[in-house]
């Protein structure tokens, strides 16, 4: 199966491209794809830095299984340290 990978901002400049196409085995996870991408673009981020990703415009965890045709975006830091958290409050019922 094939997925599209999109690079933005710092990652786009470091990868030297705005998008790439990757062929994966069925059942491959987002984490596996990100490792593959980092292998192809070793300068993308320092080894200890987690690369945050979105699948089809939603933030996703490394364990998510990808589907053929998915669009994966690598999200350089926007703020605050790693993956964006949930809202900083408990929702009310109204």
């Amino acid at each position: 199966m094939k997925v599209t990978v999109r690079f933005f901002a710092l990652y786009r400049e470091r990868a030297g491209t705005a998008r790439g196409c990757f062929t994966l085995s069925p059942g491959a996870t987002l984490g596996q794809l990100v490792e593959t991408v980092r292998g192809r673009y070793p300068d993308l981020a320092p080894p200890h830095v987690e690369v945050v990703a979105a699948v089809n415009t939603e933030y996703a965890e490394a364990g998510v299984v990808l589907q053929d045709g998915d669009e994966v975006a690598l999200i350089p830091p926007v703020s605050g340290g790693g993956r964006p958290g949930p809202p900083a409050f408990a929702g009310r019922d109204h």
Binding site: L10, V78, G80, G85, P87, G91
Partner: protein, 160 residues
């Protein structure tokens, strides 16, 4: 009104969009490009967005305001592309019956935009450019882990 635009933003219709006769308070935030950042003169800025995702994340923030404060009247317009000094990069307007909620919710929206929305800012100086928040040119070594690639608000120099 939730928009990402490449045009100059006129704040007036953004504010107007949240006004209703039950709202006694309207708070509007403008994020503006500053002339100096990190002690250096900024030539211009480039904002880049992953637009469909950014729009979804902005809409989520609007819903968060609904669940926290029960307010529906939230408008967000973010500009992308090249911005000059003193250009407005972001307008957030929140209206509510009473003023405290409008201030709280507007500040929340701005904070949250800088946490979750995939919009990035590059500051261009005489002697180079930097994606704000990505100190990728800092030396590695002891303590570098916390600094290198450390995420910082995308709009740090424009209203952080």
């Amino acid at each position: 009104m939730i928009e990402i635009t490449r045009q100059a933003i006129d704040p007036q219709p953004v504010t107007a969009s949240v006004r209703r006769d039950s709202n006694g308070a309207v708070v509007t935030f403008l994020g503006v490009t500053r002339r100096h950042s990190m002690g250096k003169a900024v030539l211009y800025l480039e904002y880049e967005a992953y637009e469909p995702m950014a729009l979804k994340e902005l809409a989520k923030i609007g819903r968060e305001v609904g669940s926290r404060w029960g307010l529906q009247d939230v408008a967000i317009v973010h500009r992308v592309g090249r911005l000059e000094i003193e250009d407005v990069s972001l307008v957030v307007a929140v209206a509510s019956p009473h003023r405290r909620e409008a201030f709280e919710a507007c500040q929340y929206v701005v904070d949250r935009i800088k946490e979750t929305v995939p919009i990035w800012k590059k500051e261009v100086f005489e002697d180079g450019a930097v994606w704000v928040g990505c100190q990728s040119h800092e030396p590695s070594g002891a303590g570098a882990r916390s600094a290198e690639d450390r995420p910082v608000p995308a709009s740090q120099a424009s209203g952080d």
